[in-house]
Amino acid sequence: MLSEVHTPSPLLQIQGLSKVYETPHGGLQALDGVSIEVRKGQTYGLIGESGSGKTTMAKIVSGILAPSAGAVRVMGEEVPHSPRQLRRTRYFEKVQLVFQDTLGTLNPYRTIYQSLQEPLINLGSKDHKSRIHRVIDQVSFPRGKLVSRPGELSGGLRQRVAIARALIVQPCLLILDEPVASLDVSVQAKILNLLQELKKDLELTYFLISHDIDVVQYLSDFVGILYKGRVVEQGSVQRIFSSAQDPYSRLLLEVHSRRYAWAQEV
């Protein structure tokens, strides 16, 4: 498109990405020629049901899984394909992943402080304490609970820790894989607001992956709909939610529509 010639190159660029898993019953195409661009300071929300390839996507973009074909670039640099390259290129300083299952990704035997310190040790940075305090203040995690272990925290606080741990290396891109799934509505609201504030304050870019249409609509500027490994439709959030074209996206959005107009005086 002509108009795009002059815009700066995207922060995250995914081109013709495919992934085939080898299984005993032959190849399984998890992703099939996906192309996505996310500009700095924007949120791209990828909607997909389970089995559509969301987690594969998150893994490839965060560099822990190698694609079968295609390329992922962050700020023009190709994403590494193996844990070793990942360490060498210090990719994790640019891109961090926030998972849904915080209980599963935080070490249950370490205190929150220790968990937050880990990435700083890897980084070889000094001044741990002030950096940790700054980041937990940013996510409104109480300092008094730094000595707790993950199991002693509520789901909402654990999610704050997960976000803090991602932010502590000062990345420019966060991959949010179902960041509020399994949280209660009132807790979810706090995390969603937090994510919005952080994005503004720290000039972050989000690549959001979720099955929750409300959450995607709330956070995203651009939306893509993933179906059986393909992005069947993408566009601005306004366009997708007002006039989706693809039959699958229309079905998905229609199924999600509300029977009653909920009272939400804002």
Binding site: E49, S50, S154, D184, V185, S186, V187, Q188, A189, K190, L192, N193, Q196, H211, I213, D214, V215, Q217, Y218, V237, F241, L251, L252, V255, H256, R258, R259, Y260, A261, W262, A263, Q264, E265, V266
Partner: protein
């Protein structure tokens, strides 16, 4: 017009545990044949325990003590979230049906009919499978079919579609509505998901800290919520209206299941609280037919 007898009713039901927790505190409700009663509320509100108490599962749950009056049809069945956990991993689908058809007082349906009804394949290849080989949606359908084998008048569903994705979820919800129509089944449906309640329920009870604080028809509840907690839930739920404004958060947290009864349990978090709320627990009042709420502010505004 006289209403039919409720398929399930209860009055002033309490659930207690020996450790001092008191997760259900005086709940009364009615579920009518052919209708879905949704219990909504955030986790820890006591929805699951209320549901299990109404079913009579306390015999199988160590320490669980139930008080109050529970009545209605004796023919009950239940389905759960995560049906993979609730099916016997070592037993085939067919094995499950054999057992459940044996339990039915007068089995009039066959496994094939039940499988067909819930939209599953009727062939042996399918019925010989172990539960883990089925998708989540299929497992939930198997569970629904198994409960139907018991020919219930009331179906208890605890987060029965929570683990399912949008499209599958929709088809299971439609199946449940179909059951209501075809069998005149009363369904009590526990969910923390407002969307599910919106698309399925005829009546909704909102649970908070062990009590139902508001009970209305689904249409009224979603369009004109009365209780400040219900309103808070809607305001903090993301939706099309929130595109460019932050969600309005509910401060604080729900009191734990062993909290002391005093004033209104929502007092600390309530934007509409008044002096009286701190001292006096608001009782549940029926404001008009089918509209009950427990909130001093609502009582004041409406002149009660």
């Amino acid at each position: 017009m006289a209403r039919p007898d409720p398929a399930l009713w209860c009055s002033n039901v309490h659930v207690r545990f020996p450790d001092g927790s008191h997760p259900v505190r005086g709940v009364s409700l009615r579920v009518y044949p052919g209708q879905v009663f949704a219990l909504i509320g955030e986790s820890g509100a006591g929805k699951t325990l209320l549901c299990r108490a109404l079913y009579g599962l306390q015999r199988f749950i160590p320490g669980m003590e139930v008080m109050g009056t529970i009545g209605g049809a004796a023919e009950k069945a239940m389905i759960f979230q995560d049906p993979g956990q609730f099916l016997n991993p070592g037993l085939s689908i067919e094995g499950h049906f054999k057992e459940f058809l044996k339990l039915s007082p007068r089995p009039s349906l066959t496994m094939e009919q039940l499988l067909r009804y819930v939209g599953l394949p009727e062939n042996r290849e399918f019925s010989r499978k172990k539960p883990r080989l089925l998708s989540g949606g299929q497992q939930q359908r198997v569970m629904i079919a198994l409960s139907l084998a018991l020919e219930p008048k009331v179906l208890f569903a605890d987060e029965a579609v929570t683990a399912l994705d949008g499209l599958t979820r929709k088809t299971v919800i439609e199946l449940l509505r179909q059951l209501c129509q075809d069998f005149g089944l009363g369904i009590i449906f526990v969910t923390h998901d407002l969307h599910v309640a919106d698309s399925l329920a005829d009546w909704v009870g909102v649970m908070y800290a062990g009590r139902i604080v508001e009970l209305q028809s689904a249409e009224n509840l979603f369009t004109q919520p009365l209780h400040p907690y219900t309103k808070g839930l809607f305001r903090s739920h993301p939706g099309p209206e929130h595109r460019n404004s932050p969600l309005i958060e509910l401060p604080g947290r729900m009191p734990p299941p062993d909290h002391e009864d005093g004033g209104c349990p929502f007092f600390d978090r309530c934007p509409e609280r008044m002096a009286v709320c701190k001292q006096h627990l608001p009782e549940m009042k029926e404001l008009s037919r089918g509209v009950s709420v427990s909130c001093h502010r609502v009582f004041q505004d409406r002149g009660y």
